[in-house]
Point group: C2
Chain length 345, copies 2
Amino acid sequence: MEEQQTEIASLGEFGLIKKLTETIELKNASTLKGVGDDAAVLDYKNKLSLVTTDLLLEGIHFDLTYVPLKHLGYKAAVVNFSDIYAMNGSPKQITVSIGVSKRFTVEHIQELYEGIKLACEIYGVDMVGGDTSASVTGLIISITCIGEADSEKVVYRNGAKENNLICVSGDLGAAYMGLQLLERERAVSVGMKDFNPDFAGKEYILERQLKPEARKDIIDTLARNGIRPTSMIDISDGLSSELLHICTQSNVGCRIYEERIPIDYQTAVMASEFNMNLVTAALNGGEDYELLFTVPIEEHEKLQAIDGIRIIGHITKAELGCSMITRDGNELTLQAQGWNAFKNQ
Amino acid sequence: MEEQQTEIASLGEFGLIKKLTETIELKNASTLKGVGDDAAVLDYKNKLSLVTTDLLLEGIHFDLTYVPLKHLGYKAAVVNFSDIYAMNGSPKQITVSIGVSKRFTVEHIQELYEGIKLACEIYGVDMVGGDTSASVTGLIISITCIGEADSEKVVYRNGAKENNLICVSGDLGAAYMGLQLLERERAVSVGMKDFNPDFAGKEYILERQLKPEARKDIIDTLARNGIRPTSMIDISDGLSSELLHICTQSNVGCRIYEERIPIDYQTAVMASEFNMNLVTAALNGGEDYELLFTVPIEEHEKLQAIDGIRIIGHITKAELGCSMITRDGNELTLQAQGWNAFKNQ
């Protein structure tokens, strides 16, 4: 008799992770926080160690027909740094493991590493190890980042309190629109030789997709202004999905306002060109790597004086649920339509 | 004009890693040791953090036609612990990233995780994070392990001194012979239904291949006896290759003696059945995960009283090179014929 088999797609990524990790019991005094946040928190005496890891697979997370290897390396490193900043920490070391199939040459891999090294240089991180292997097909990149934080400064996802202000850095949806643009040009270029798409006026959304930055500057600015977020997360799967993480883990609800969501004009133009809903792109488009955080309402004035941070709403009692007030005054329940790799198969 | 392209196979794994990492400059005070040892060493105040990582790919590192997923998970974790012990440290946390193609079900992945969790339980390690993704083809496992060590106790590869004794734990070549056996049975079974190979009398070599252990016991025993190795490495790519790592990094030579190399009788029987050279299997067969280390000659008596550790030779001046004295008194230059994933493509 065959045992019951469940397709992974039926659980989705979060469901699978939950299923795999819910029985884990932490054993060491040095493990303050395991699975379930942007990074694990380890207590190595005076400083906390933060550890985060990401696996990037060709054909799932990236398409080398339009992503230059150097950009890919840069992005692979930066998305890990972003997780460490989202804990209010500083990335310090990374390990890089790669698997490469026969179609890649040494020069290709060097190009990839140049991007990783550039990111390390800019963010002050040391590459301290890794693993290199052949793969049967395609390129595989696995990066682990270790960072540090003062124990009284680390910020989790679960600290949001009623009446806290909800803030977001930068603007949203641009990386997603950049991806749409690249996908369209790739489709158009099939079979064409020396195809040179015209990207004039679309540089910003392309850069957001191909060369995102982690918001070290925001972490520094908050510290300089004496503001400690009550909760924080980086936006990799879309605002909606990340906000629901914060609300679920903090056991609170939220109200955000459509008109307050920061969107760049290039994102808006592109969405219009594609006839796509702009707010959907901003709510559910992934890979922005902006910071989403909550702060006590007392910080309102200080926050308003800071460039590049937008207050988009506030935290409520859990019973009120999580919703967005649209421009026309309707209330829309937020849903986690975040990017799900398992659906892509 | 096309830039020069070099095939990865022409460099080999070590060559590629060297090429990729030789220009790295460490920047943080907390980074005591980066690329180039079994684990990176980070100074988080009173204790050192050790970080190591391994990437395992289906079709390259394992074959699911004869490796049960639970065993695979167990082994994937244990090989990382082994790297931490090889620094004279204790593994404390791991992160686990996996990529899985559509042919895997939730139950398959749970089985894999059960093996990882079992290893964590036995070795006292916490799983603290990871990443889960779809893959286009096959199973991908990337594990990072973080461990701790007292700063005065950590052991590198580069501390071997002239006249030090060369020691090895357990016995060698068994995992390699186990792999040969499994490969043979797989070849024989092609197209056969309900094929049940008879593995009686071969349990040990199969266990060495399918369910290796990390030598925590040896580390504990050495500590209890007050012996601190001058250099240490775990044997994953074969004795010859690992000994050359120690000698190169310590700038010394070595003499080992064929008759002193520990080999289990099942390994010998299997090699004879396959008409293979037994010493070649012991010198170059990978995946034994035993510890290879050097100690001052003054520890000779203490060492001889310890079960499961064999003195196989001694360290010499670098000018004398690295060689093995065969049973018939000849001198054989040691060569790194270790396992090279890039040759398998």
